[in-house]
């Protein structure tokens, strides 16, 4: 039983993950740049003007990837958290902690660009649209997670408490989404949805996907950077940290 996990745990130990993450970061930044350049080029120069929304629709190329990422990161965060609770690996909690701020910022970008898109299209900065509302609630959930971890001094306890909150959140996110959606249709608010744009051309889809890849790579890169800092903060008094070349110099 234990033997099967040994290899796994070797990678899951902060000590071996720290240099590995260091090696991976430049690659992810490189990919971020490549996808970013291609994605932006498609979004501004290849994708045609939208028949209904004019040039204003180009916000979609960051709005949708940011929304996707904000939801996806929450799932990944909860998965790490659950893994940490189940297997008691130290790295899992650190990963969850490193992902949370990125997810919160993605939710913020999604809300911000949503408002800047809503103003010209619906004539108002904020509509109680199902998507916007659930994104706002997702943002609150991220803030709650970050605040809970920040309020607990003991790192291990913070990890575990955060893990439970993330898992509770993950059960609740779909419930919240559907309840808000239902509430929205009942009240017949402005439910202009992103994908309903009639002329959703193939190029737009490609632009969105490539921008999503860019956001993906960015999130991984920045989370790895943060997890490296967290590892050092938590493992301050261990021998291996003292023997690191960047500490010894």
């Amino acid at each position: 039983m234990n033997n099967r996990f040994i290899n796994w745990f070797r990678f899951a130990s902060p000590q071996s993950f720290y240099p590995l993450a260091g090696k991976m970061i430049p690659w992810f930044w490189g990919l971020t740049a490549i996808f970013g350049v291609v994605g932006l080029w498609i979004s501004f120069f290849v994708a045609p003007t939208d028949a209904v929304q004019g040039e204003g629709y180009r916000i979609i190329f960051i709005h949708v990837p940011a929304s996707w990422m904000s939801m996806f990161i929450y799932l990944v965060m909860a998965a790490w958290a659950g893994l940490g609770l189940a297997l008691n690996t130290r790295l899992s909690g650190m990963m969850a902690q490193a992902l949370a701020p990125t997810g919160a910022l993605m939710a913020f970008i999604s809300l911000w660009t949503g408002a800047f898109w809503g103003k010209p299209m619906w004539g108002t900065w904020w509509v109680w649209d199902a998507r916007l509302t659930s994104e706002l609630i997702l943002f609150f959930l991220y803030i709650g997670f970050i605040a809970l971890q920040a309020a607990i001094d003991d790192a291990r306890r913070a990890d575990k408490a955060g893990a439970i909150l993330a898992l509770v959140g993950v059960v609740n996110v779909p419930i919240i989404y559907f309840s808000v959606k239902w509430w929205n249709t009942l009240h017949q608010g402005a439910s202009v949805s992103v994908m309903k744009s009639p002329s959703m051309a193939q190029t737009m889809l490609w632009g969105m996907l490539i921008m999503a890849l860019c956001f993906w790579m960015y999130s991984i890169a920045v989370a790895l950077m943060r997890v490296r800092a967290i590892i050092l903060e938590r493992e301050t008094h261990t021998e291996w940290v003292k023997e690191l070349p960047e500490v010894k110099q």
Binding site: A147, K160, I164, L167, V168, S179, V180, W183
Partner: protein, 221 residues
């Protein structure tokens, strides 16, 4: 099972001896609900329309007030440690504590709501739906809230943090609870909302004690 009844009895007895805390949350509910007409204006049609939402939001806030002490007093005087070390499964004791919390904070709201609903000119049938929705919804609030209360136990700024964690999770209860009354008033029928609320309650009754138990063990470590 006798342990479950014992903890319910214990918490009710303590609440009886410390009536002021229960009453504070209750008066908070009454005052918040009564403030809205003063802020919005006395127009009956408008008040009737917003009444379900106001009553529900006030119920959420009033529950938040009492959630703080769900585990905090037991934690402070060391009896929580004794509960964890009791041979009775902790999940059962937690379920009992949640039940007692509902009896002292949720049930009074349910009983009081129709009286306050009269202030907003709700019809008797709408009041009935309101009571039904609160009857299904307030235990849900106690269940979800207990997770937050356990997570923030002994944490700096626990009270504010608790509302930050729990209020977003209360949104479905708010939507379906207030929605039930609105749907009834507009003639759509409240059964859909109420059955969804019941489904959520069943889900929470299954998962929340478990999550709370895990959170309590972590808090005590």
């Amino acid at each position: 099972m006798s342990a479950l009844l014992a903890i319910v009895r214990r918490d009710l007895l303590i609440a009886m001896r410390r009536k002021s805390e229960v009453l504070t949350a209750l008066f908070f509910f009454i005052i918040v609900v009564s403030l809205f007409p003063l802020g919005i204006g006395p127009e009956p049609a408008l008040l009737k329309k917003i009444a379900p939402g106001i009553l529900w939001v006030a119920a959420l806030l009033s529950t938040m007030l009492s959630l703080n002490r769900l585990f905090a007093t037991d934690h402070a005087d060391g009896t929580l440690e004794q509960l964890v070390l009791s041979p009775t499964p902790l999940g059962l004791l937690v379920a009992g504590k949640i039940m007692a919390h509902w009896l002292t904070s949720g049930l009074p709201l349910v009983l009081l709501a129709p009286v306050l609903g009269l202030q907003f000119d709700l019809e008797p049938s709408a009041l009935g739906v309101l009571v039904g929705a609160l009857l299904l919804g307030t235990p849900l609030l106690s269940l979800i809230g207990s997770i937050g209360a356990a997570l923030t136990l002994g944490v700096r700024g626990g009270g504010v943090l608790l509302s930050l964690l729990v209020l977003p999770l209360y949104i479905p209860a708010l939507i379906f609870g207030a929605g039930a009354v609105e749907a009834h008033i507009s003639g759509l029928g409240a059964s859909g909302h109420l059955s969804l609320l019941a489904a959520l309650l069943a889900l929470a009754a299954f998962f929340a004690p478990w999550a709370t138990t895990a959170a309590l063990r972590i808090s005590l470590e």
